[in-house]
Subunit: 271 residues, 4 copies
């Protein structure tokens, strides 16, 4: 039962300029749930500011601090031990009939800010309604989303819903996730949004600069399964930050005011 | 400290025809929190079906049952004791700076399925940005929403966002609430959606048939205050069913499948 | 999959005399979780007092009210639909190794006010340490407790721990549960206390007057199983009020002050 | 509003020898709640083992791992920024009448494994029943406990209740806390157990080796206040690990099996 392990170093740095004191919440800290083991983590800011943590409704860790007037750099880094194995796959995992879903899973069948099973419902049923239910149907959704949307930085913004992205045919990883989640929910398959770090372990390094990643988990056969409609391959080394209904619930930074984000850097590498 | 009391009888009846067994969740049960005292409640269905209750993420009671094939009538009724007094008002209640908001209140500053502080943010700041902060600003929001939207049954549907309703200039009580909530959140004032029964105690009975009601609670001066942008007057006898980010979180009925809702009746009267 | 149903009427009435206004919490309301369906419930008090409900740490419903000075009668009654079947039994259900227990189950392996796996640990290991692990071992614990303790009203009081009851050899149903729970926990088998109504369906009516009942649930094979060390037979019609670590967590009435309880009546009958 | 800060280094190391694989839960990690800011933390074990975190019922962080057969060293260290100020004091803070206590505070008036307001109730009322209610009464309780109990390592063990310690007249810091908490609860004053690191900032270093510390928080005037019946002086630099009803809820290490704890070291120093 012993699984080989690898270590990844993940982190991020934000540089802000604020004209007023600005309340800010960060969600960038590695989640300490299995199968990841967080060995070390460190927060630093210049200037030094108070920070405290709390958990949101979904159990995600949130870090709250107030940016002072002027320039502030906030930096987070963690060393995380992960299994040297990709996420599990079971092509035969069945869907769970709605009447048998656990109570606390039902929320992931409902619409949310960015995931619109209502607006995309007809399309979902047109494309996947006749597909035999189960893991393979979710994979068909991922295949479709992956081929239908073209990845393009800056193609979406904070008000882009799954319906918007699907109509436009462009998106970033969070849009891929929002669209696929919307399709799943339209078919009464519970799906939730996952936000995290995704290092390039045993896969070619992408061209674009490293960024946070978004993917989804889908409830089949009594448990949650990882699907990644953006990359559409299984991967090693996912370091989760949080889960929620969509990107609203796991936002890397929420600022109460309009500080300028001068730069942001994200890293996720084998240690 | 003794407050005079009155008793109200609230309830609802749904008639469904289902072609397949249909998992269903109801949120119509009176919340037993102060200042209401639920004296009696009764569920009945024809045919008799199993039902169980659970609490969602927000602590709202949900009732879960499976509609059998064919016709089903589901009926709920409660006798509730309420104060013979309208909700409290404090025109001088100040807003709480974002940095000082309690952690668990922050979620009510974020966008949600129907409440779009992002999309309506410019309008919010244009109209209310210069208004002195506090209770009176929220009242100005309610006044504006109440005069800007015209009430009209059937003017909105399950995909109508606050931005849609605001652009159209029409809505039902939930749209009034969604728009006012969006404006509050755009100004970093926490606002949440409330769903319940609203009898006509000491006010003229409305023309339209009795229905569920939606209003909002706004966080000022360290507590939540009731505002009702639809009626825009204080009222007695509110019987809450639940609270959430918006109407997604407190839906009277969620069905997994497409049963026909042949009729729905709601009542809320002095007992 | 349709199970035959029966209806039971459960309830209780307390008569208090208070010399000062006395804050009181009741835990006597039927839990609305499967497989029970609460059809109707009613609270009444003489004089009429405000009451509100909340959930404790364990998700149990609590009813909070203030007894006025003088005499007060508080009455609760519910009509509940239950399966016409006894709790499930699986003699082969295995114990779950501690390392594989779900995180949220671990709390039920720890000592609590009345359940003392530490104090009764040697006895637990002496008696059951060599017993093959699994459902049958829990049944052996129940058999031992049921034969070792003699049932006797008034034999224990609010400070009687499992160790006290075990040493004395006497107890009421809550002591039977506390002792059996302590033995389970001493063996790292999660066990929790259950409090509820237990009608006499298809079993001979007991001699003693109807009272609230206490039993336990034990975590085996990935789920909770009902065991009743007091009656030591399977039963139909259990109507749960709540669950917890022990009787502290599900107390029928907690009073902040010393009102006189002049009488208490409990009922649980087929409707 | 800027408060001067200091940095403390806290941590611990456990050395175990296990004959079988042993599931273990640690509660030694610094809580990230205000006013502490956790800057850096690191876990290490020899050999390297998987570990994951979860939150218990009280929101305390728990770290779960399985000790392999043989020798294992587990080490935790954090760098924490704390205010250069002692906990607040308000001699005039009033008690909150039971009827007005928030629902979620009530649990801290009940008995628990080690805190026995029932058993110590008569003594509580005899000593403090006539004392004017409020902060000063809690201080009188601390004064009494501090003078009545003599501190002595090894004077108590895992089954020593507040009643045991009080009768014996000996205890370690957790017994001081348990007794004082029991007295508070007997008077319907909510009190909870706090476990953490307590460096010697601006106070003489104690003779005994550094250890984890236990104190209590008491609910007065609508918030929780820190009291330390063991040291009975205000202190700077408390780094909380967790809170609960008593030491059961915040145990530095819970092992499911009987590994030998060969050594334990704790540190808490200015960085």
């Amino acid at each position: 039962m012993t699984v080989a392990k690898r270590q990844v170093r993940v982190g991020c740095e934000f540089q802000y300029t604020a004209e007023i004191e600005t309340a800010t919440v960060f969600q960038v800290q590695a989640l300490g749930t299995a199968p990841a083991t967080v060995l070390k983590q460190e927060w630093a800011s210049q200037p030094v500011v108070d920070r405290h943590s709390y958990l949101d409704l979904y159990g995600n860790g949130c870090q709250r601090l107030t940016l002072p007037v002027g320039d502030t750099t906030v930096r987070y880094e963690a060393l995380v031990m992960v299994p040297d194995a990709s996420e599990e796959v079971d092509l035969d995992a069945p869907e769970v009939p709605a009447a048998l879903l656990p109570d606390d899973v039902l929320v992931y069948t409902l619409p949310s800010r960015y995931c619109l099973p209502d607006a995309l419902g007809d399309e979902a049923w047109r494309l996947f309604g006749d597909h035999p239910p189960g893991y393979r149907r979710v994979r068909a959704i991922c295949d479709h989303v992956n081929s239908h949307l073209r990845f393009s930085y800056g193609s979406s913004n904070g008000t882009t819903t799954a319906a918007d992205a699907y109509a436009a045919g462009w998106g970033v990883c969070r849009d891929f996730a929002h669209v696929a989640i919307s399709f799943c929910r339209a078919l009464s398959i519970p799906a939730r949004y996952v936000f995290g770090y995704l290092p390039f372990l045993d896969v070619p390094v992408a061209d674009e600069p490293m960024d946070f990643a978004a993917w989804m988990e889908v409830y089949l056969d009594g448990r949650w399964w990882t699907f990644d409609p953006r990359n559409n391959v299984t991967r090693k080394g996912r370091v989760l930050i949080g889960r929620g209904r969509d990107a609203v619930d796991v936002a890397m930074a929420t600022t109460y005011g309009g500080p300028e984000l001068r730069s942001m850097e994200v890293w996720a590498d084998e240690a």
